[in-house]
């Protein structure tokens, strides 16, 4: 869970206490959530959203979305015909 920040933010300069702007943070949103940023940028974005009221809910919504896709996107699908065909292929392969 991403924690809400508490400072007012200036989107051009970012909230006080962070060295990046909201735009710089939002431009890296998915890379941050995917853990694909360089360690230095991971920390800068993490530091920004920890105190930025404007950005943290935006990051949180995307995190919730990605969690749902990851947890539910692979829902299994039943195919009886397929099982029969696979068993047949295995029987032929073993002969």
């Amino acid at each position: 869970m991403i924690s809400p920040g508490d400072s007012g933010s200036d989107r051009m300069h970012g909230p006080r206490g962070t060295d990046i702007t909201c735009q710089e943070a939002l431009d890296r949103l998915f890379e941050f959530l995917d853990g694909e940023l360089e360690p230095e940028w991971m920390e800068r974005v993490r530091g920004h959203i920890a105190i930025c009221r404007h950005c943290w809910p935006r990051f949180d919504v995307e995190r919730v979305f990605l969690d749902h896709i990851a947890a539910r996107g692979l829902a299994p699908t039943r195919s009886r015909r397929l099982e029969r065909r696979v068993r047949e292929i295995l029987r032929n392969a073993a002969e």
């Binding site: 809910p57 995307e62 692979l74 829902a75 039943r78 392969a93 073993a94």
Partner: protein, 186 residues
């Protein structure tokens, strides 16, 4: 190998691997965009390869993950072998705005996702154009990194990143529009 050994190997494979058939078929459908015939062929190819390499599988380890990797690789090989015409995707048509801009104040944690049935999510993934769908499945359902996807699909990392971004935005928009249509969000 004697017939008795063959039978024992087959029995063991069926016991350990075939319980994951529905999961494999689900992954194949997501990768092929819901193409049942291609998906069945893909699962059969993956099962045959897994059976032939069964001696490389260490009993008790994650058989499902092992099978999914084999299926994913079979798909990637097929993906490169196929006569692929570029998918016509209107990139401009894909909005870049997050649904947060719509739901932010009413549903700040996007709980509407919880009220969607799994089938709606899988159907929306399958309906994505191939250029968007494949990177999304490899990343969000299979956990591959950007460089791994880039290498698998022979694409620059920057292209993977941008397709993934657009795939997610489009999927999100699709699910949000559906949620509005059926009254999950107003």
């Amino acid at each position: 190998m004697s017939q008795v050994d063959h039978d024992a190997k087959r029995d063991q494979f069926e016991r350990e691997a075939l319980v994951h058939l529905d999961d494999l078929y689900g992954l194949a459908l997501r990768l092929t965009g819901g193409d049942e015939t291609r998906s069945e062929d893909l699962v059969q190819t993956a099962c045959l390869r897994a059976y032939q390499r069964w001696d490389q599988y260490e009993l008790g380890t994650n058989c499902r993950a092992w099978l999914m990797t084999i299926l994913r690789n079979a798909f990637i090989n097929e993906f490169h072998m196929r006569d692929r015409r570029p998918t016509v995707v209107d990139y401009d048509e894909v909005g870049e705005r997050s649904v947060f801009e719509q739901v932010g104040t009413e549903d700040p944690e996007s709980r509407f996702f919880e009220n969607l049935v799994d089938e709606r999510i899988t159907a929306a993934i399958e309906a994505l154009p191939e250029d968007f769908r494949v990177p999304l499945v490899l990343s969000d359902l299979q956990g591959l990194s950007y460089p791994e996807i880039a290498s698998a699909l022979s694409l620059p990392v920057g292209t993977v990143k941008s397709r993934l971004f657009r795939a997610r935005r489009r999927l999100q928009r699709e699910l949000y529009d559906y949620a509005r249509e059926v009254g999950i969000v107003s």
